[in-house]
Amino acid sequence: MTLDLELRTVGKVYDNGTPAVIDFDLAVTKGEFIAFLGPSGCGKTTTLRMIAGFESISSGDVLIRGARVNDLPPERRPTSMIFQNYALFPHMNVRRNIGYGLEVKGLPKAERDAKVDRIIATLGLDDVADKRPDRLSGGQRQRIALARGLVVEPDILLLDEPLGALDANLRKAIQNELKLLQKTLGITFVFVTHAQSEALSLSDRIVVMNQGRIEQISPPHALYTRPNTPFVAQFIGRNTILDGEVRGLANGAAVVETPLGVLSGAANGPVREGGRAQVVVPAEAIEVHAAVPGARESVAAKTGGNVVAGRIRRADVVGHVSHLSVDLPGGRAVALEAHVDKYPPGAFRPGGDILLAWTPAEATVIPAA
């Protein structure tokens, strides 16, 4: 199988000695949609810029279709970069902007025009093709930038927070277009974002980064449901994280003693008996039960003992969604939401005692940091 992009223990150290990226390893097959996700300053953009050639590579190798590109300048790499601020050339009209890469490559005019026309049609830019980019909307400009980057037929399209400057509705629309475009063209996309919803809905695999290091590389669903590290557990999704000590390990399930009781979940990573661990419970996995006498035992029997008591602090209904804010013993709060049918208004009152329960398979146990 040929890899479109390979990063081998790539590192970046700035001139002042600060490491920005540490031992980045990644192999991307052709046509994959990869997202680099992480908080600002985690090194995701630096990594992207090393692939593009805008940043020098301090250590390791970057390979594109098997060829080492470390020493190639950006204009000789088979990559195209899409920027958050679009970076369109304001002194050229839309058509010239899009065709500029081909123009410079010296393609005959007829061939060039045909390619430009095709991409203009694909992205629905016919109406604005002869306008200057300055008066166009953000969405149109980002489409122009995409067209300009794609028309040169790069092996890899690099996108640096391309939706960051768009408003929420437009972002959603362009997101869908982007996904469709990528599937149709079959080009490898590497997409940098700090918005997890973007990464989760667009990509085939997500690389979560923190402080220059990769925390986890997983497909979206696995990332969401099975975090590998404490950072991922608190960065992705809405998880309740409970610290404790591992009391038992069997068939991939771990039993952990926590201040809220003995809880169990699927072990992920090097969990060992007697070691410190965290139980990660997604908000979506939690079921709410009324705290009537005897309920705790009957619920515990169904959920492998995964029951904790809580007290309702707030209950709101917004449209079709009920929000519950529940205080756990020890001062921790859990936010839950569900369709209004599930948590009907009036059924839960602030100050009321309830039980929270989840099945062991939906919880994940990871080694503590």
Partner: protein, 281 residues
């Protein structure tokens, strides 16, 4: 509340500023219409006339007042200003481009460049004269003086371009590179058109500073005088309103220059605005 106090103060301040800026010029302009050849450079105006303008162009009957010896010096000053403008702007743009990436010793180099506009002109001029004498180099307006003009105006061009590059969005260049455009071509086709308003400003600075440079040129230019030196030379004998007439014409020339600059500027600012909108969105 504040504006009732501050606004009148600001208005007075602005009025005074304009008065001191244009007052001297206005007095000169009025006196240049003094009658000649008997009228002198003082009030009252005996009779309004354009005598001194005609005198300037040698259209008056010969009199005891010699025509201004400016013809050759004007040409020299213009040639010198244009040459200085070209060299300083090229140097300024290149140096500012170099400063876009921090390099070792960039701080020192920065102050070395800026020093050229800080040091007292008379001293530099004198120093240049001494150096030229020591090395046996003849002093000429196109040689020693030209070098000093460049040293003097280059920092201005450099600072203007530094400010321009400071606001320049580098992702535009990176976008071009990633499309396969070489850095040299990117500079010509993407960067330069976008920094052009700044280049115009740098050119204007260099030209005007060189055109009326006096102190450095005084010692460094040798035998052939530039315009400011030639005009100053006439002062030492006796002042006639023909100097004022010439002053008015030069000022009009400067305004014309500003006019050209304004037109070119509007054209490119219109373009720059588009960039700004693009960035804001």
């Amino acid at each position: 509340m504040h504006s009732t106090v501050i606004k009148p103060i600001l208005a007075v301040y602005t009025g005074l500023f304009l008065l001191f800026l244009y007052g001297p010029l206005l007095v000169l302009a009025i006196l240049s219409f003094q009658t000649g050849p008997e009228g002198g450079p003082q009030f009252p105006i005996i009779e309004w006339s354009t005598y001194w303008y005609q005198h300037l162009f040698g259209l008056t009957p010969p009199s005891r007042i010699a025509p201004l010896p400016i013809e050759e010096s004007l040409v020299r000053s213009l040639v010198l200003a244009v040459a200085t403008m070209i060299v300083s702007t090229v140097l300024g743009v290149s140096a500012a481009q170099a400063f876009r990436t921090r390099f070792r010793g960039s701080g020192v180099v920065f102050y070395l460049i800026v020093l050229g506009m800080m040091v007292p002109g008379v001293l530099v001029g004198l120093g240049m004269a001494l150096v030229a004498n020591t090395l046996g180099i003849d002093r000429h307006w196109w040689g020693t003086a030209f070098v000093l003009h460049v040293v003097y105006t280059f920092p201005f061009a450099f600072l203007v371009m530094l400010a321009i590059f400071n606001r320049f969005d580098q992702s535009m260049e990176e976008a071009a590179w990633s499309l396969g455009v070489s850095p040299a071509r990117t500079f010509r086709k993407v960067t330069f058109p976008l920094i052009f308003p700044g280049v115009l400003s740098a050119m204007l600075f260099a030209f005007t500073l060189s055109y009326d440079e006096f102190s450095r040129t005084l010692f460094a230019s040798g035998r052939d005088l530039t315009l400011p030196l030639a005009i100053y030379g006439t002062f030492s004998v006796e002042i006639h309103p023909n100097v004022f007439a010439f002053g008015v014409l030069t000022t009009l020339f400067s305004f014309a220059l500003l006019g050209v600059y304004a037109v070119l500027m509007t054209l490119s600012v219109r373009r720059a605005k588009r960039v700004a909108i693009q960035e804001d969105a």
